[in-house]
Every structure is written in structure tokens, then in C-alpha cells.
């Protein structure tokens, strides 16, 4: 009976961890999915925006003493939201001054396909941001420390005195906030006028222009919003995951795996894709040694891209 209880507990623990972690991955993926869905741009620097979100949250939290002012539950959330606002404007700047030079009509004259310049440019930005981060923030791992990071709620026990599930408090709060933001974004895109213009610009940029919609501006907003959301996700992760300036690399493949799995071009798909990746990652801790867990994500990603690039929910947006 004991063995069974242990296995059951492990499985339950892993599943809940998968959901908690997966929800934050889902939020990151939603940010990336928004950018790709509206603008068809692959932003290699998305991981670095995540990292900047983490640091912005840290500085907001400690600098404004949010832990004391607002308590351990609200403090980090507000910090993450502030980080989101800051990174929104950073994203706007990056789009207006850099990305517009390599997307759109200007690119058509150059040889080769149109999206390679974006890929390469965002790769360059990624290198700059990660390494500048090293210069300004130092290489010591940080977290946004609150008592919540190391305490957990116990649910159970279910079978006599055994089999409980422990929910790390910080992660649980992060879960709730992620879901809340994802839902808010969904309603924003679906219900508000700006959200609809974003969808229209994504659906048919030429027809949108005929309607008087400024497609470039729509792209700027989508990009900035996508960066902001990923930054907020970063801020939430920062409450329980130690980070340093190169942390973006750890997450960028997770983000792309999630977005591709859910179907590039679908924001809802990105959410479920991210959630699935989180579950896969946590489940892999049951069977794989630590170093291979990361490799497992890559292998899953490669399998998706090679076997079913359109993902589970998305439309086929490959261009030939």
C-alpha cells in the first residue's frame, strides 16, 4: 500500500506542479503568440524581454518596498505589473525604430524571403539585451523573495495520513494571476475596439488599410503588448525561480514549443500549448534525470515542428 501511496503522491504532485508552472508558461506563450498571430514576426528576443521583466519586477519590488507596503501576496504582483508597463514602452520603441525597418514594404525589394531579416535582427537584439543585462545586473542569481517562495499549502491528506499535495504558495498565486491576465487579454482582443482592429490587421492587412486602420500602429501595439505580457509572466516566475541575465535562453525554447504546439497564429492555442509544455516538463521529472529534462523539451519541440508544424489548434500558416 505504501508504494502505491508514494507513487500516487508523486504523480499528483507532479500534475499540480505541471498545472501551476504550465499556467505561467502559458502566459509567456500568449505574449509570443500575440506577436506572431498579429504580425507574423518571430521575435528571438522574447526570452530577453522575459528576463528584463524579471529584473524590472525585482527592482520595482525592492525599490518601492512593495513587500512591506502591500504584503507578500499583492506586492510581487504589483511589481510584475509595473514591469509589464515598462516593457510595453520598451517594446514600442523596439518596434518603431528597429523592426519597421525590416518588415513591410521596404523588405520586398531585397533578395530572399521577407522574414529572415526579422529573425536575424531580433537575434542581434537578444544578444545585446542578454549581455547588457550581464553588465548592468551582474551574474548573481536573484529572486523576488517573499515568505511565499518557500512555503506551501497542503491539500489532503487523501488516504489516511498519506498522499497530500503541496502547493507552493508563490507558484499558486502566480497561477491565479496568470490565468486572470490571460482571460483579461482574451476579452480585450475579443471585445474591445482596439482588440478587433488588431484581429482585423492580422486577418487581412490590405483590407484593414482600406478600412482606414493603421496597420503599422496595430503592429506596434501588438508587439508592445506581447512583450509586456511576457514580461509580467517573467515577473511572476521571478517569485520562485532564481534568474540571471542569461535566463532567457532557458525559456525561449519553452515559449516557442508552446506556441508551435498550440498552433502559430492562435492565441488560445498558445495558452494551451504553454500549459501542455509545463505538464510535459514536470512529468519528465518522474522519469528523466535533471539534465535531460531540458533536452526533453527540445526533443518535443523538434518532434512537433517536424511532424505537425501546424500544431494542435492552429491554422497552417507556413508560407511557401
Amino acid at each position: 500500500m505504501n508504494d502505491f501511496a508514494v507513487v500516487l503522491e508523486n504523480v499528483l504532485q507532479v500534475l499540480t506542479a505541471g498545472l501551476l508552472v504550465g499556467s505561467i508558461y502559458a502566459l509567456m506563450c500568449v505574449g509570443l503568440g500575440l506577436i506572431f498571430g498579429v504580425m507574423r514576426v518571430i521575435n528571438f528576443a522574447q526570452g530577453e524581454f522575459l528576463m528584463l521583466g524579471m529584473y524590472a519586477t525585482l527592482y520595482a519590488f525592492t525599490g518601492l518596498n512593495l513587500g512591506v507596503m502591500l504584503g507578500s501576496y499583492i506586492g510581487p504582483i504589483v511589481g510584475a505589473l509595473i514591469a509589464g508597463v515598462v516593457l510595453y514602452f520598451a517594446g514600442l520603441l523596439m518596434h518603431r525604430y528597429l523592426l519597421t525597418r525590416v518588415t513591410g514594404i521596404r523588405v520586398v525589394g531585397s533578395e530572399g524571403e521577407g522574414h529572415y531579416p526579422q529573425l536575424i535582427l531580433t537575434l542581434g537584439v537578444s544578444l545585446i539585451l542578454a549581455n547588457a543585462g550581464l553588465i548592468f545586473f551582474g551574474s548573481m542569481p536573484q529572486t523576488v523573495r517573499t515568505p511565499l517562495s518557500t512555503t506551501a499549502w497542503e491539500i489532503g491528506p487523501f488516504i489516511g495520513d498519506h498522499v497530500s499535495v503541496f502547493l507552493n504558495k508563490a507558484r499558486s498565486v502566480a497561477f491565479l494571476v496568470s490565468v486572470a491576465i490571460a482571460v483579461a487579454l482574451y476579452r480585450f482582443i475579443g471585445r474591445t475596439r482596439i482588440g478587433k482592429t488588431l484581429r482585423a490587421a492580422a486577418d487581412n492587412p490590405e483590407a484593414a488599410t482600406y478600412m482606414g486602420i493603421d496597420v503599422d500602429r496595430a503592429h506596434s501595439i501588438a508587439f508592445a503588448l506581447g512583450c509586456a505580457i511576457t514580461a509580467v509572466a517573467g515577473g511572476l516566475v521571478a517569485t520562485y525561480y532564481p534568474f540571471q541575465p542569461y535566463v532567457g535562453l532557458d525559456f525561449v525554447i519553452i515559449m516557442y514549443a508552446g506556441v508551435v504546439l498550440g498552433g502559430m497564429g492562435s492565441i488560445v492555442g498558445a495558452f494551451w500549448g504553454g500549459l501542455t509544455i509545463g505538464l510535459v516538463q514536470q512529468l519528465s521529472t518522474l522519469v528523466l534525470p535533471v539534465q535531460l529534462q531540458n533536452a526533453a523539451i527540445f526533443v518535443v519541440f523538434l518532434l512537433i515542428v517536424l511532424i505537425r508544424p501546424e500544431g494542435l489548434l492552429g491554422r497552417n500558416v507556413e508560407r511557401t
Binding site: L121, L123, G124, I128, I135, I253, A295, E318
Partner: protein
């Protein structure tokens, strides 16, 4: 820039001169730190050349060349550590590993397009990084072999390494030169510009991509293996990491993509810059290297996307006198217009009950017709009638839902476009994609590879094709200097260079003025009187009625009418399809 006809003399001399100069500098430098830098510059130049051979020439941007670099490094290292095999043998074995990796990575990944390809290539080295960490190879040092250092590629005098690296560079440059100057390079360039057109011209794009990645993988592995020998220590991050892939890319982008010297120049400028910054400021400002490389990429992409070298070259070229516009040569002698064509012969191409739908839209519905040898068949119909879809079906770009196409009795179903071209069906496209930086002859040359294995004879076939369309005088001009009608003639020549039996012409006359149309019509007529079978889609009815022997009229994807021009244009159904029902109703009064 490339061309089979160009001699190798100049570039070889350049390489020799560079190598000699570099060697002299290398021998003079005493400081070991600078010697190391000289070596590293060459290693990254080789890495850049490797990236260039694949991504630069083919246009498939790889963010994952670190896979090959790292595999080469680890092969050499592990062979030495575990089996005591000298790097003199280890590096060639590493190159073989690189080739195999190229095929293993390339074959499944080439089916992907655009950003999916880029993302997959990005994932490979990062996955390998984690795997090698798991295998326990976090840090592997190459052991010192005191008994016979030279036999294990270990030298006290670092200048030997500089010389060895130079040897590697020369080999890499020779390989690049060979790729660039042969039909290999032309084929890669063709598929970079327009993969569909290349396939239709008979180029087996998959085969060329695989060959390119194999060579590229070998070169990168060699660079990686040598890197391990020089640094004596290998970690997963340094050889499989993002910076490695990025460096290969940046060095080439900076110096000039798809050029022989680009990666070398880029390496000469960027690597010492990064190393010096790292050495001087690395303690106080860690990560300065990454920032510099990142800035280099961003600046290049924004200001000079094709590289610093080509940008400078363009500026200089603009200063010198522009190419004198060739005198307007009148089209071919106007025999053709009046020439009687031999009556049509046996059936060459038979289309039976071809159907294809896209979602709910039936683009082609149960279309059947025959094309007889020696005739000019016009496929006409109002907008949206399915004409281009029909051509795409004939050519192999899309598969029909039902029906069959046979050419000289052989079934074409399921054959790839390049295979169909080899069988004898040539094609031009609606949207022209000439290769602007190449000469007219080189543009046409890719079409000739199908019919000629020998390079010289391919050139002859290309020249012949140009003569047939009346462009012989412009063979050595750059394609960017041609007028629209000349570009159309060049497209035609490229299709002719494969010596097709049937030519599918897709809207060759669109957008031309009436004089230009006359000129092109004369050309097409003369081709037809030489015996070429032609199927042509055209909107410009004025021209078609003077050209075609027979028409097949399509409307909403189905055959509406067939027959001679004057019959068809009087057919009420056809008039109604073009001008509308009311017109017919009015016209009958």
C-alpha cells in the same frame, strides 16, 4: 558575380597573396596572445565560410551551425581522450561526422519552410548542449602528449597553429570557390531567388540543399575540431552555445553574404575587436563581446543588409560610369509572322478529366484537352477561370484531386516539377524573378543544366537559347539593366535552354505596350515555326488571336469552348462569359 566561364586565376591569386601576407605577419608576431588571436580569426573565418556555403548561397538561414562545430570539437576531443587517436586523424573523422550530421539534420528539416526551418535549426545545437551536459562532458581537456607532441598536433611554438589554420582556411576558400563558380553555386542561387522557378527549370532542389549542408557541416566540424586542439578545452556552452552559431552568422553577414571574401573580412574585423574588448574590459564589463556582436548584427541588418563589403562595392560602382545602355536591338528578323507552320502532328500532351478544388472552391473542373506537336494552343478565359491552377497541375506544383496528365504516353502524376522539366516540359512564370546581380547568360544557364551535364556545353546551350529569342547581344549585361520586354525574352530563353518539347508560357505578354507585344509575338511565332509546341495563357486577346492556332476557353474552371480563334470569339457562350449576359442580349438586337 558567378559564372562558369569566369577564370579561377584572379581569386586563386588573391587567396595565395592573402595567405602569404598572413603567414608573414604570423611569423613576425612574437606575443603568444596575438598569435592566438590570429589563429582564432582564421577559425571563425572558416566557420563563417561554412555557414556561407550553406545559408549564404541557398538563402536558408541556419541559426544552428554550432551543431556541426560542437560535434567536430567533441569528436576530436573524445577520440583523443578515450582512444588516443591523434587529431591529425581525428579532424577528418570529425568532418565525416559533420557530413552525416548534415544529412540527418537536413533531410527532415528541409521539408519545413521559413520560420519553422529557422526555429528547428536553432533547437538542434541547444538540444545537443543539454545532451552532452547530461553525458557528463561538462568540461573535457585535451591531455598533453609529451612523448610525441607533433604527432598529436601539439606545438610549443604557437606560430605552427597559425600556419595550420591558414592551411585550413585556404582549403575552405577553395571549397567555397568551387561551390560558387560551378553549377552548384548557380543552382543554389536559383533556388534562393525563387525555388518554384528553379524546380520548374529542372533543378532538384532537395538534392542541392543536402549537398550544400553536407559540405557546410564538414567545414564547420573541421573548424570545431581545430578549435578544440588550439584551446585544449571543450565545454558544451562554448561549442554548442548560441554565441557560436551567432558568430558564424554575423561574421558572414558583416563581410557580405554569398561572397568568397565576406566571411574572411568579417572575421578579420570583428573577431579581434571582440577579443580585445573582452581582454581589456572583460573584467569590468563582462558580456561586452555579446553586446558588440549583437550591435554588429543590428547595424548590419538596418543599414546594410547584404553586408558591409557589397555595400561599399555598390557605392564605388555607382561612382564609376554606369553601364552604357545597349543599343535597342530590333527583335528577330520578321520572318516568323508570315511563316506557315507545319500542320499539327501527333498528340504530345493529353489532359484527361483533371479536377482540383481548394476548400469549397472548384478551381479546375473535369478539364480535358490535347496538345498536338507543333501547335500553339491558347488557354483563355475570364478572370478566376483557373488557368494558372491548370498550369500548376501540369507542371507538378500541385496534385489534382482527380484526372490524369500524360506526356508522350508517360503519366505525370506525382512527379516533382524538376522531373517533369527533365521529361521535356518547360515553363515561364507570371511574376518574373530574374537574378538581378547576375548576367543574362548566367540567368539562363540554370535552365541548361537539365539538358547538359558538361559545363561548357551548358554554356553553349544557354547562348543558343539566347540567340533564339534575339538576346544574344545582351548575354553579358547584368540582368538589372534589361527592359521589361527583354526580361520576358530572358525568361523565355531560360525555359528554352532545357531544350523542351513543350513550353508552357504563363502570361508572357502581360503589362507590355503594343510595340513590345509585337516584338515578343514575333519571337514566339518564330519559335513555333521552328517546331516548338507551345501552350500559352494570356489575357491580351488582341495578341492571342494573332498567335494561337487553337483556343481552349475556361470559365469557372471548366472548359467552355474550343476551336479556332475566329470560331471561338464568335461563340455566344464565350462572349457572354467575357462581357456578360446583358451584352449578349443587347448584341442580339
Amino acid at each position: 558575380m558567378s559564372g562558369l566561364r569566369h577564370g579561377w586565376g584572379k581569386p586563386l591569386a588573391g587567396i595565395a597573396a592573402f595567405a602569404a601576407a598572413y603567414l608573414v605577419v604570423g611569423l613576425l608576431v612574437q606575443n603568444q596572445y596575438y598569435q592566438l588571436m590570429l589563429t582564432l580569426v582564421l577559425v571563425w573565418a572558416v566557420m563563417g565560410l561554412s555557414w556561407n556555403v550553406f545559408s549564404g548561397y541557398s538563402g536558408l538561414i541556419s541559426f544552428g551551425h554550432a551543431s556541426f562545430f560542437g560535434l567536430g570539437a567533441y569528436t576530436v576531443t573524445l577520440l583523443l581522450v578515450k582512444f588516443d587517436i591523434t587529431p591529425w586523424i581525428g579532424i577528418p573523422i570529425g568532418m565525416v561526422v559533420g557530413v552525416i550530421a548534415g544529412v540527418v539534420i537536413g533531410y527532415p528539416t528541409f521539408r519545413l519552410r521559413g520560420h519553422y526551418f529557422a526555429l528547428a535549426m536553432l533547437a538542434y545545437p541547444l538540444a545537443l548542449l543539454y545532451i552532452f551536459e547530461w553525458l557528463g562532458y561538462q568540461e573535457v581537456s585535451l591531455p598533453m602528449k609529451r612523448e610525441a607532441p607533433a604527432a598529436f598536433m601539439q606545438f610549443a611554438d604557437h606560430r605552427v597553429y597559425v600556419a595550420l589554420a591558414l592551411g585550413l582556411l585556404v582549403l575552405a576558400m577553395l571549397a567555397s570557390l568551387w561551390v560558387e563558380r560551378s553549377r552548384f553555386g548557380l543552382s543554389l542561387n536559383a533556388l534562393k531567388q525563387n525555388e518554384a522557378a528553379a524546380e520548374a527549370a529542372g533543378i532538384d532542389t532537395l538534392a542541392w540543399k543536402l549537398k550544400a549542408i553536407m559540405i557546410s557541416g564538414a567545414m564547420a566540424a573541421a573548424a570545431g575540431g581545430f578549435y578544440a586542439v588550439v584551446l585544449l578545452i571543450v565545454t558544451p556552452v562554448t561549442v554548442f552555445g548560441m554565441l557560436t552559431s551567432a558568430q558564424a552568422l554575423i561574421v558572414t553577414l558583416f563581410g557580405g553574404v554569398a561572397t568568397l571574401w565576406g566571411p574572411v573580412i568579417g572575421s578579420l574585423i570583428l573577431i579581434p575587436l571582440a577579443e580585445i574588448l573582452h581582454a581589456e574590459l572583460g573584467h569590468r564589463i563582462p558580456g561586452i563581446q555579446g553586446v558588440v556582436f549583437g550591435l554588429a548584427i543590428v547595424l548590419v541588418m538596418v543599414l546594410a543588409p547584404e553586408g558591409v563589403l557589397p555595400r561599399i562595392r555598390d557605392r564605388l560602382a555607382r561612382r564609376s560610369k554606369p553601364l552604357a545602355a545597349a543599343p535597342q536591338v530590333d527583335g528577330p528578323v520578321a520572318i516568323a509572322a508570315a511563316a506557315r507552320r507545319a500542320p499539327a502532328g501527333e498528340v504530345l500532351l493529353r489532359v484527361s478529366n483533371l479536377s482540383r478544388a481548394f476548400g469549397g472552391l472548384r478551381a479546375v473542373q473535369d478539364v480535358s484537352f490535347e496538345v498536338r506537336k507543333g501547335e500553339v494552343l491558347g488557354i483563355i478565359g475570364p478572370n478566376g477561370a483557373g488557368k494558372t491552377t491548370l498550369f500548376n497541375l501540369l507542371n507538378g506544383f500541385i496534385r489534382p484531386d482527380a484526372g490524369e496528365v500524360t506526356f508522350e504516353g508517360e503519366r505525370l502524376l506525382g512527379l516533382k516539377p524538376n522531373r517533369i522539366c527533365r521529361l521535356g516540359i518547360g515553363r515561364t512564370f507570371q511574376i518574373m524573378r530574374p537574378f538581378p546581380r547576375m548576367t543574362v547568360l548566367d540567368n539562363v544557364l540554370v535552365g541548361a543544366f537539365v539538358s547538359e551535364r558538361d559545363d561548357d556545353r551548358a554554356v553553349a546551350a544557354a547562348r543558343q537559347a539566347l540567340a533564339r529569342v534575339g538576346l544574344a547581344a545582351r548575354a553579358d549585361s547584368l540582368a538589372s539593366s534589361l527592359t521589361t520586354v527583354e526580361l520576358r525574352e530572358m525568361e523565355l530563353a531560360r525555359a528554352l535552354a532545357s531544350r523542351p518539347k513543350v513550353a508552357l508560357l504563363d502570361e508572357t505578354l502581360a503589362g507590355l505596350g503594343s510595340q513590345e507585344i509585337d516584338r515578343l509575338l514575333a519571337t514566339i511565332n518564330s519559335l513555333a515555326s521552328e517546331g516548338l509546341t507551345i501552350v500559352i495563357i494570356e489575357h491580351t486577346m488582341q495578341a492571342m488571336v494573332r498567335l494561337a492556332d487553337r483556343f481552349v476557353v475556361l470559365d469557372h474552371g471548366a472548359v467552355l469552348a474550343r476551336g479556332k480563334p475566329d470560331e471561338v470569339t464568335r461563340d455566344p457562350k464565350v462572349i457572354e462569359a467575357y462581357l456578360g449576359k446583358k451584352w449578349m442580349a443587347n448584341a442580339q438586337h
